[in-house]
């Protein structure tokens, strides 16, 4: 406790970022330190697992200390320690877990395992103090594309998810074939602003009628076919048009399915989370659709859209309040489904 407030620490290391944060009363960010490896990964064009693990290991100690110092507290003030236990790269997850367990063991503080997607959803509680379940969540990132009915703080129903590539992955792969670099999301978003979103008709994949699942593998192939076709004929390609049209096709499908879910579940609030929530076209199109149907849209600022410790601390706070505390057998689960989070972490 610090000044009568419950203090939660959140540790996140599932992918690119080594992050530790301190949050008061589950909602107020006291510190949020993120050490990103994007620069390292740019060289390789993606997340390299062993490099990711090695950098997490190098960074975690100093990021942890910085988070405490920036919050103006010591570890003694912390009441619960939250840590991402899945999904993610197993070697990367284990670094955060080992650190969290060691601190919990040494200090006797309770340990709370957090599902990464629950963390992303919880980022919205930090940026919108009045927000509380129930609501509909759209989680879009490099590894995830989910539409979730958030019934309570710790109760979720996954309504739809990707059947192949995650949306951020589709952006990365298309950026790769356009020679743009990594990460693909912001690069395509920037290039798309100079292009015509209606220039090329890439396939919109809606799957079966009423399905809320996604498939982005086909549009990736659609972009490749288009580029190969032009190349074979010796024609030049307007890359800005490709980026804009690809982004438009992807976002149209995401927005349509999210709105279908919101209407069928009678939700008047939609929460967007994950790295792709920063995409400007998604915000435009979803914002417009929400206004037409009198639905409130919530979206965290970019610093809380990316992987961070504050969202994990927030989620851990609500799990702790519900008595969901882990012992030291807590393990990393690389493919952990959200529905299983109560049992696994």
């Amino acid at each position: 406790m610090k000044d009568g407030q419950f203090i939660t620490m959140g540790i996140e290391s599932s992918c690119d970022e080594t992050a530790v944060a301190v949050v008061a009363e589950g909602r107020t960010v006291l510190s949020n330190i993120i050490s990103s490896q994007i620069d390292v990964h740019k060289v390789f064009g993606g997340v390299v697992p062993e490099i990711a693990s090695r950098h997490h290991l190098q960074n975690i100690g100093s990021v942890y200390q910085q988070a405490l110092d920036a919050a103006g507290i010591t570890i003694e003030d912390v009441d619960a320690i939250g840590v991402t236990c899945g999904p993610g790269l197993v070697g990367a997850l284990l670094i955060g877990l080992a650190h969290a367990k060691a601190v919990a063991f040494a200090t006797g503080k309770p340990l709370v395992g957090v599902h990464h997607i629950q963390g992303h959803i919880s980022a919205n509680y930090l940026s919108s103090p009045e927000l509380a379940p129930p609501f509909l969540a759209l989680v879009v990132s490099g590894g995830h594309t989910h539409i979730i009915d958030v019934k309570e703080y710790n109760r979720f129903e996954v309504l739809g998810q990707t059947r192949d590539d995650a949306v951020g992955e589709a952006f990365d792969k298309v950026a790769r074939v356009l020679g743009l670099g990594y990460p693909g999301g912001p690069l395509i978003d920037a290039l798309a602003k100079k292009g015509n979103p209606q220039a090329i008709e890439f396939p919109r994949v809606y799957l079966e009628k009423d399905s809320l699942d996604f498939s982005f593998s086909g549009i990736k192939t659609g972009v490749l076919n288009y580029l190969n076709g032009k190349r074979q004929k010796g024609l030049s390609v307007c890359e800005a048009d490709v980026a804009a049209s690809f982004q438009q096709a992807v976002m149209e499908v995401i927005v349509a399915k999210t709105m279908t879910a919101a209407v069928s579940r009678r939700q008047k609030r939609i929460v967007v989370a994950g790295g792709v929530a920063a995409n400007s076209r998604l915000r435009e199109l979803l914002g417009q659709a929400c206004r037409e149907r009198d639905i409130a849209m919530y979206c965290p600022p970019p610093i809380l859209c990316t992987d961070n410790g504050a969202m994990i601390a927030c989620a851990a706070y609500y799990k702790y309040q519900a008595g969901m505390i882990n012992d030291f057998t807590l393990d990393a689960h690389p493919g952990l489904p959200l529905q299983m989070q109560e049992k696994a972490c």
Binding site: P49, L89, G91, G143, D164, A166, T221, P334
Partner: protein, 156 residues
């Protein structure tokens, strides 16, 4: 044994995946080689269906490895594209999966040739003339009897 044929549409990929699945046994390693968008994950989905896997097969690009345990044999689905160096795969326990209890499918196996066992099953996929066409090339270990007659492939 080396077989070649052209799949005209995705249904033929599905059928090939199921036929392959029927003949797989524990310890088998399938090396999948083909450019982005040729359908490596799509073929893996078909193999998984043939093995009776009930979970959703999604791209392992982000996590490098996805495991599925609901089928006739455990399925370990790798995408090694992002791992530049064989040592990195060694660190995540790649070899333990290769000689383990299940079937390994390794996308972008051509990037880590030294790590692939000598008796692995090679599947190369290339774009065909038409957008929906895919050229398949299957290389099988000599000591195994395989049946792909249904596909009417050409032996080389």
């Amino acid at each position: 044994m080396k077989l070649q044929w052209i799949a005209q549409a995705e249904q033929e990929t599905q059928r090939f995946g199921r036929l392959l699945a029927e003949q797989l046994r524990s310890g088998d390693v399938v090396a999948l080689i083909g450019d982005l968008g040729t359908g490596k994950t799509a073929l893996t989905k078909a193999v998984a269906a043939g093995l009776g896997v009930s979970e959703m097969i999604t791209s392992p690009t982000f996590t490098i490895l996805c495991e599925y345990h609901s089928g006739r044999l455990p399925l370990y689905h790798f995408d090694v594209y992002r791992t530049g160096d064989p040592d990195e795969l060694f660190e995540i326990g790649f070899e333990e999966y290769l000689f383990g209890d299940g079937v390994c499918i390794v996308e972008w196996a051509d990037l880590v040739p030294d790590l692939m066992p000598s008796n692995c099953i090679f599947v190369r996929i290339a774009y065909g003339q038409e957008e929906s066409q895919r050229k398949y090339e299957l290389m099988l270990p000599q000591d195994r009897a395989w049946s792909f007659d249904e596909l009417q492939p050409q032996e080389k």
